[in-house]
């Protein structure tokens, strides 16, 4: 590997600092013994302990986790189906439109999606809470799952499936014995992405949640408006750790899968 020259190194350090310094500060101050957010009072884990006593925050975290688990699972199933339609059904009528609609949430401003969903739920007179937030999250994350799974399906050697069929397997058997195991890493990666997207979403949840269904990002956001406490720093640090772990896991899965195919 080439050694970086000084200007490049400087640019790299600056870039990383620009992106991650704020987060680093947040993480550091979550271990601050002082109650004052901007004054360092020595190392302590007292805010993590206090976190466990904060029932409102714990409730919000539990709700977020439930929403993320359910919405990621639904999004992955929908993503798998739409990926199969896009990668395997040839050029059916409306394919371009369908592909565009699948990708639209990637570029659609979340505020618009959130507002639209809110109007829909109000119009339907649906009780806002766990399910409305979950459905909102599925609309956002299904497209990510679709893209991850579709790209794997497109790369999959068709002759594998043909060979299985040639050897006497029905199309359904081919899917479960060959296709599904081959794309399993992509399905898992899609699920993990959907999970993290749901876990840290604030905008959609703000529009679609109801009284008594406050997600963790919403709770953190509302607490901050009353003043940042080291407790929030601690909660955020835990959230960052969780999300970072999941994202790293997902990218490792995709990378390992790509390596295995070369």
């Amino acid at each position: 590997m080439n050694r970086l020259r000084a200007p490049h190194l400087l640019a790299l350090v600056f870039g990383i600092a620009f992106l991650y310094l704020p987060i680093l500060v947040l993480v550091l101050y979550s271990f601050n013994a002082s109650r004052l957010v901007t004054v360092w009072g020595g190392f302590s884990t007292r805010w993590y302990a206090a976190l466990l006593q904060n029932q409102a925050l714990l409730d919000a975290a539990w709700l977020s986790l439930k929403v993320a688990l359910v919405s990621a699972s639904l999004a992955t199933i929908l993503g798998l189906l739409s990926a199969l339609a896009l990668a395997r059904s040839g050029r059916f009528a409306g394919r371009t439109l369908f592909a565009g609609m699948i990708a639209a949430p990637l570029v659609m401003p979340e505020v618009i999606t959130g507002l639209a969903l809110l109007l829909l739920f109000v119009g339907m007179d649906a009780e806002r809470g766990f399910w409305t937030v979950t459905i909102a999250h599925v609309t956002l994350t299904a497209c990510f799952a679709t893209i991850v799974i579709q790209s794997r399906l497109v790369m999959l050697d068709r002759s594998l499936e043909e060979a299985a069929q040639d050897l006497g397997a029905t199309p359904l058997r081919v899917f479960f014995a060959i296709t599904l195991p081959m794309i399993a890493p992509a399905i898992l990666a899609g699920w993990l992405l959907a999970f993290t997207l749901s876990l840290d979403d604030l905008v959609l949840a703000s529009f679609t949640s109801g009284p008594g269904s406050t997600t963790l990002p919403m709770r953190i956001y509302s607490s901050v408006r009353l003043g940042v406490t080291p407790e929030i720093n601690a909660a955020s640090t835990l959230l960052i750790t969780l999300v970072a772990t999941v994202v790293v896991l997902a990218s490792l899965l995709i990378k390992r899968d790509a390596l295995a195919r070369t």
């Binding site: 060979a163 299985a164 069929q165 006497g168 397997a169 295995a260």
Partner: protein, 383 residues
């Protein structure tokens, strides 16, 4: 008059010459289009039980499509395919008594060698012991005993090829389809595998249909070859028929090296035809019913059927003078290009077999030479 036999092989297996023989597979006016492109065009072909048949042609000639239609992967636009007298229309691939060895081998990467070979047997619902016994038998057949637990990525190219073969043979198909079976192997391994495949086919008495673009492979392995050109069969025949009696210029030029002398028929005397060409008056002995003086015709001549002489030969046979233009020493023979005298200056390829290690009459660039060939050596092509 009894004509001499073609090539130097005496074949005993020739059901296609027997009108009473029952065909195994019949392609009957089969057509397949992809958009505007006609991949296979009104094609008919018959395969006999125990035959090793090769579909030979350049890429895009429709040979793979034809095979995939038999496997059931491509629906027909028109025509029909009969197997054992049964029309295959509407029968999906997993219910057809054919199995295919894919060009990429298509081994299931998430399964062991054992599970790969057992896959087709499990679909048949065979009991566990029967499957284990059959897999062991197949592994012995392809000489891979002890490899059952390996994963495909732990195998060499040659081993993968054998596993793919064992997997395709495990269900005892009525027809085994081979898509470029040796394409991914290196030269040495290819030759070995070639003869192993032939032995296997003879031993099991199976019918093989092979797709290949490699004429050496087709010539060495097949009982009969179908040479394909743009969705049609240009000629079907035993390798020696294809080589020594090509039906047209396309076949003559696709299979092996050939020199073509274009000309006009000067006279027809029984089976002796005289042709007026840029290389002089050429004589050939090839039956040509209906050929009349004045018609356009060509003489096609294989490089190994020409002699190079240093002096003008006696007698009335075919001869042409020229000088040596290029020499390529290939070991088993030397490929010499001779530029004929005259305005056209046609280049003629001559293959000189190196039957001795040393020679007293070596040739060199720019040597003046005479070419000579037998009247029976040339092939008459119309047009």
């Amino acid at each position: 008059m009894a004509r001499k036999s073609l090539g130097n092989i005496r074949r005993s297996f020739a059901p296609w010459a027997d009108p009473a023989a029952t065909p195994l597979v019949r392609f009957d006016g089969v057509t397949k289009r992809f958009g505007d492109i006609t991949a296979v065009s009104d094609l008919s072909l018959t395969l006999y039980p125990g035959e090793f048949h090769a579909l030979l042609g350049p890429s895009g000639c429709g040979k793979t499509t034809l095979m995939r239609m038999l496997a059931g992967f491509e629906p027909l636009d028109s025509g029909r395919i009969l197997l054992d007298g049964q029309d295959l229309a509407g029968i999906p691939p997993h219910l057809r008594p054919t199995n295919m060895m894919f060009q990429s081998y298509a081994l299931f990467p998430h399964m062991s060698v054992f599970d790969n070979i057992a896959f087709g047997l499990r679909q048949q619902g065979l009991p566990r012991e029967a499957i284990a016994a059959r897999v062991a038998e197949m592994l012995a057949l392809v000489k891979l005993e002890g490899f059952a637990g390996r994963r495909p990525d732990q195998l060499s190219g040659g081993q993968k090829q054998r596993v793919a073969l064992a997997r395709a043979l495990a269900r005892r198909p009525k027809v085994l389809l081979l898509d470029e079976p040796l394409g991914a192997l290196d030269r040495k391994l290819r030759e070995e595998t070639q003869y192993e495949l032939m032995d296997l086919q003879a031993e099991l008495g199976l019918t093989f249909l092979m797709v290949t673009h490699d004429q050496d492979e087709a010539m060495a392995m097949a009982d009969r070859i179908s040479v394909m050109e743009r969705g049609r069969i240009a000629q079907v025949g035993a390798p020696e028929e294809i080589y020594e009696m090509p039906a047209n210029r396309y076949v003559a030029e696709f299979v092996g090296d050939i020199n073509v002398f274009e000309g006009v028929v000067a006279s027809v005397d029984g089976e002796i035809v005289r042709l007026d060409s840029a290389a002089g008056l050429l004589i050939l002995d090839d039956p040509a019913p209906g050929l009349a003086p004045g018609q356009k015709a060509s003489l096609a001549l294989r490089p190994e059927k020409i002699d190079i002489l240093t002096a003008e030969p006696d007698g009335p046979g075919n001869k042409a003078a020229g000088e040596i233009w290029d020499i390529g020493y290939l070991g088993d023979f030397t490929m010499v290009q001779v530029k004929l005298d005259g305005e056209a200056g046609q280049l003629v390829k001559v293959a000189l077999p190196n039957r001795s290690r040393k020679t007293e009459t070596p040739i060199a660039w720019d040597d003046r030479v005479w070419l000579s060939w037998d009247v029976e050596a040339g092939i008459l092509l119309r047009g």
